[in-house]
């Protein structure tokens, strides 16, 4: 357990030291979302109408943008060998790294969302559910993305290949995340959708790290 926490702390520390892509992700999120007023024009009703989708899709893409490098530097400087040789199971190592990554990207992104929602003129009613949905959804995205990052490790083509592998797996989270917010916006109960998001997360927490660890092992061979 101490080792687990030490790992998380390490990744946060490293990110802080070398101004990580975390900030990059937030900037991109900001850019991408704020672009839509230009793309769609002033009519606030349309902006509001699409705000949910825009916020979620851009969140998806931002998450993808960030996760690609999760294991690369570890792999190239030989740290991954050492991590794989730690006494604690590799899947825990993966979980720790993904957690740190989420704290650096998913969390700030979640907290940023409502302000962007204001910018897009989304109805206040949606904010709480939006944050909740993102809070439940983004960890799943990070976990799935981690699997993708491990699978494409050492592959001849990183980023785009990763996108091809991961984006389809993101779609369920996207669908239910949007559904939850839209439900709350139209005064319906968001709980069923949120429940599904939670279920996805609960399924991903054991499965993804396990698969990711397997992928990393074969990458090290």
């Amino acid at each position: 357990m101490t080792a687990f926490l030490a790992l998380v702390r390490r990744d946060l520390q490293l990110a802080m030291r070398q101004g990580s892509d975390a900030a990059l992700v937030l900037i991109f999120y900001l850019l991408a979302v704020l672009l839509f007023p230009f793309g769609v024009g002033p009519e606030s009703n349309i902006l509001a109408r699409i705000s949910t989708g825009v916020l979620w899709v851009t969140a998806l893409l931002a998450a993808l943008l960030a996760i690609e490098r999760l294991f690369v530097s570890e792999y190239e400087d030989g740290s991954l060998d050492q991590l794989a040789l730690l006494p604690l199971p590799l899947s825990l190592v993966v979980l720790a790294k993904v957690l740190a990554h989420w704290l650096l990207t998913g969390l700030p992104l979640t907290l940023l969302a409502p302000f962007l929602a204001i910018a897009l003129g989304m109805d206040e009613a949606g904010y709480p559910v939006l944050v909740l949905a993102l809070a439940l959804g983004t960890p799943t995205l990070s976990l799935i993305g981690g699997l993708g990052a491990a699978l494409t490790l050492g592959a001849r083509r990183g980023g785009a290949l990763l996108a091809l592998l991961v984006l389809p797996l993101y779609i369920p989270a996207l669908i239910f995340g949007v559904a939850a917010v839209d439900a709350s916006l139209s005064g319906l109960a968001a709980t069923p959708h949120l429940a599904i998001l939670a279920a996805l997360l609960l399924a991903a927490i054991p499965l993804c790290p396990w698969a990711t660890a397997a992928a990393l092992r074969q990458a090290l061979e």
């Binding site: 699997l147 699978l151 083509r157 389809p168 698969a211 061979e221």
Partner: protein, 244 residues
Amino acid sequence: MHRFANPARFQRIANAVLPWFAASTALLLALGLYFALFDSPADYQQGETVRIMYIHVPAAWMALFVYSFVAAASAAALIWRHPLADVAARSASPIGACFTFLALASGSLWGKPMWGAWWVWDARLTSVLILFFLYLGHIALLRAFDDPTRGARAAAILALAGFVNVPIVKFSVDWWNTLHQPASILRLGGPSIDPSMLLPLLLMALGFTTFFVVVLLLRMKTELLAARLRAAQFARLQPAAVAH
């Protein structure tokens, strides 16, 4: 010691069964198409377009079946590390991608008259699209590494992870209310479709299956030959050590 196992036995078996499967494929598809196009009634509400079903439905079934096959082979490859399992998975996924594309294409062809749109973002259609991308990802990952064994293992892990999508495709029509119609054949309580349509449908489905087997065996044979070739090249190129 699987790695030393030479696939000569597989070659022999494959050569033995191939002609039979090829013949039955030709027969089944010929019969199926005859019934489908000439000797089956037009639907009372869909008219002639119903005949698209005889392509669409078997294709869709194959899309799901082949993915399950790939996943199973991948599991075998990961657990027992048997090279043939790798070869099987690697050979099957492009075929599956083709079936999936066929289902998508025929589906949207059918959708135009039925729903008035080539494409709608409904759960069934979406999940099939995801299935298609999973196939593409599998193929891309297989070829993304210089070392084929690594690509094979990465792809295998992906195939297993992506398997969750198969039940979603299958039951999406029941879980969400979709434009797409629910299962009327592969369902509890027996098929609810006119026998005169059921016969050609089943013939086509069988034909597609045997067709799949034929193509699979052929691809596996070529894969194995290619592997032999690579090995030979390595033996020539790669000295035991640089020192001479």
